[in-house]
């Protein structure tokens, strides 16, 4: 008899196949996330996944733990309320770049500043996939999208730099091809207290890829040839540019008191 897929117990099997397009990297990053949860050996009944809206925002719908698919951009404040109300939960936010950094950008920087104990995984596919490939806060300058038909006049965020500057205590970036490093980073982040941020670069072959003449395997080749692992690199110097090179690695891993620790100390100590 054929054995089960090793991740079947963590999947809502009745909802697979998922909605992600053929060749979309979200599934691979989601799979890395499930492997990391397994490897972390955290009690699964205490693991919660919260997502926002968008292709990556569907993540919460496929994991067989308590999971919440919230509103566009609001996964982080929802997760903040949940974590503070029950600190024994391990709350993972799995969402996309548009959700977390355009409409939800304000929530991201404040949760990082407060050092809320969340593991935030951002699937960065450089555009809005769900709505058909519009420009995002992460779209490279001059790239074509349905709302920048002649090329993007804006410049993208450097997400790890933003996370670091806001106060995140764990910051890493990998591509979907670095599945083992990505899995390991998510596992480390889950086992660490404080606000953790992991950016996972990912092809969106159907929208971004098609308009910029990038077949998925070309993207992978670029990831293979252009990515440079620089653990501990200064986030100010980490380009994610397919010409200059894509710097990946674990950039930040520090400690500072979390919101809950400070709150307990200041407000709940006997007195």
């Amino acid at each position: 008899m054929q054995p089960d897929h090793p991740l079947n117990d963590l999947l809502r099997k009745d909802r697979i196949p998922h909605i992600w397009c053929s060749g979309c990297g979200i599934g691979t990053i989601f799979s890395a996330c499930l492997n990391a949860i397994k490897a972390s050996e955290i009690d699964l009944s205490k693991v919660v996944m919260v997502s926002g809206i968008g292709c990556s925002g569907r993540g919460a719908g496929y994991i067989n733990v308590d999971s919440f698919h919230t509103t566009h951009g609001r996964a982080i404040p929802f997760a903040t309320g949940m974590k503070l109300a029950n600190p024994s939960l391990h709350v993972i936010v799995f969402s996309g770049d548009g959700d977390l950094f355009a409409i939800g950008g304000n929530h991201f920087i404040h949760a990082a500043r407060r050092n809320i104990e969340l593991t935030v995984i951002c699937v960065n596919n450089l555009n809005y996939g769900m709505t058909g490939g519009q420009a995002a806060a992460t779209t490279p300058n001059r790239a074509k999208t349905t709302t920048t038909p002649l090329g993007n006049p804006e410049s993208p965020f450097n997400l790890p730099l933003l996370a670091y500057a806001s106060g995140a205590t764990y910051v890493a970036r990998w591509t979907m091809l670095h599945t083992r490093d990505l899995t390991n980073s998510i596992k480390e982040a889950l086992q660490k207290k404080g606000f953790s941020f992991i950016e996972a670069l990912c092809p969106c072959p159907v929208n971004y890829g098609r308009r910029n003449k990038l077949r998925p395997l070309d993207v992978f080749k670029a990831y293979q040839q252009k990515s440079i692992v620089k653990n501990g690199a200064n986030p100010i110097e980490i380009d994610a540019d397919s010409d200059k090179g894509i710097i990946v690695g674990k950039f930040i891993d520090t400690e500072r008191p979390t919101y809950t620790e400070m709150y307990n100390k200041i407000y709940r100590s006997k007195g």
Binding site: P6, L11, I16, W20, S22, G23, G27, T28, T179
Partner: protein, 97 residues
Amino acid sequence: MEFWRKPLDADDIHITRGNVYVLDDRCKGCGYCIEFCPQKVLKASKGFNKKGYHYPEILKPKDCLNCHYCEIICPDFAIYSIAQVVAEKGSKNEVNK
């Protein structure tokens, strides 16, 4: 596996072997598993699955090294490799992880 010189620990390490499985109907035919398998174990099927995709067929089952790469790169939870139980030189069975 052939060596140009016999490694000192050749008797202690054993090559892992795996059985690779495909869940045809979960597959969306992206071909990543085929492209990235270091052993070229897989090839695209001629036929289609329920959703109309070419799923991977196992061309050389014996060559699977249980490296799991197809499993972790697959976006659709459609392929995986399970370690083979190998008979040790001695007597007891051992499972590769």
